[in-house]
Symmetry: C2
Subunit: 235 residues, 2 copies
Amino acid sequence: MNVSIETIDLLEGIATTRAIRRFTPEPVSDDHLARILFAASRAPSGSNRQPFRFVVLRDGPRAREAKAILGRAFRSAWAMKRASDGYESGSGAKTDSPKARMARTMQRFADEFESVPVVVIACHVRYDRPNTYEGASVYPACQNLLLAARAIGLGGVLSTWHLLVENELRAAVGIPDDVFVAATIALGHPEGRHGPVRRRPLGELVYEDGWGEPAPWAVDPPGTRHTRAGPPRAG
Amino acid sequence: MNVSIETIDLLEGIATTRAIRRFTPEPVSDDHLARILFAASRAPSGSNRQPFRFVVLRDGPRAREAKAILGRAFRSAWAMKRASDGYESGSGAKTDSPKARMARTMQRFADEFESVPVVVIACHVRYDRPNTYEGASVYPACQNLLLAARAIGLGGVLSTWHLLVENELRAAVGIPDDVFVAATIALGHPEGRHGPVRRRPLGELVYEDGWGEPAPWAVDPPGTRHTRAGPPRAG
């Protein structure tokens, strides 16, 4: 593989991998996909069973059909979320507020889902009954995938909105019944940029020696900017 | 934070983060924990709700009790696995085989679980009924945590064996009923080394345009060494 890439430090990469939902029309090359999927497959899984499978959708016939099915789901899910999470109210009414910008990005992402360069369906071949722990052997691979995309200048976002159309999606892509469809990941060349992500203050997320017990050392690096949890709702 | 660390490239780090189960007795410093947990908290989650919480167990009173409870679970789970997965048979009978070495590592890990320097309980505060997708908002954070440990010279391993003693663990640590206990992560300074991990050939894990359809570009980098899926069983 002869792609020259800038290197990025592991910790820096982790701290600056944003959810990317706006893509340029540039296709994602085979070589980029190979690097990203290789990274995904390095993830751990229970007993190293490697139950994860990745179906890559670009512009083949089944890809187009699957993207159209997913596009309907994303538009429907976003319409519900836009209303229920108050994206129109408060600061959402001001076109330059972060909330209004986020709403525009989400609207475009949903409206143009069919033109997302790559959609990866992250799956898990079940060897046990469905349970809340099975994600431990597929979502770490999804995170590796997103970090690797960031490392080579691409970006993406994970979603579980396929749930709204899961049966149609399974039929279109030929996914067997014993396979857990864990997520879809949209991928492409970012129109925007990666950069520091915002979270709640670390001390609110980390405890020591017991639930709810403060961990005095759990302090964000200087200059870290915070956000509240969840969708905007008010404000 | 004034720790000087070597930097490691993001893609290189992803490809060389091994499951570490043998630790030196060296404690894990507050500063190391802060870096590792900060990285964990950078992970994405649905609507950026950040439902993940991390309970760090070192040598406080509840930590000791929780580690003893988990130690019993790990010894019991490993004893079952050792028998059912054929660790004693075939090449497992030869003391220098990879299988026999793996069995020794697992035995020591279970036997000495109480002296693992740090155990992080990865949790998820539920805002919905339990489902197979909720891991999407906690296991990516666990993977960030393990990658960050590797970045600063530590290592660890994720397990769901706490399931065998979940109620006792909840009581000891004070974890509320509406919280999903997703995993425990053992952490410390590795006695061994990180290095390239082994997986199945990439082409067996990646499809394009349909389930089971080959992706010709899904080729491992030159020199990649493979392994079969899952526990050893035979051979």
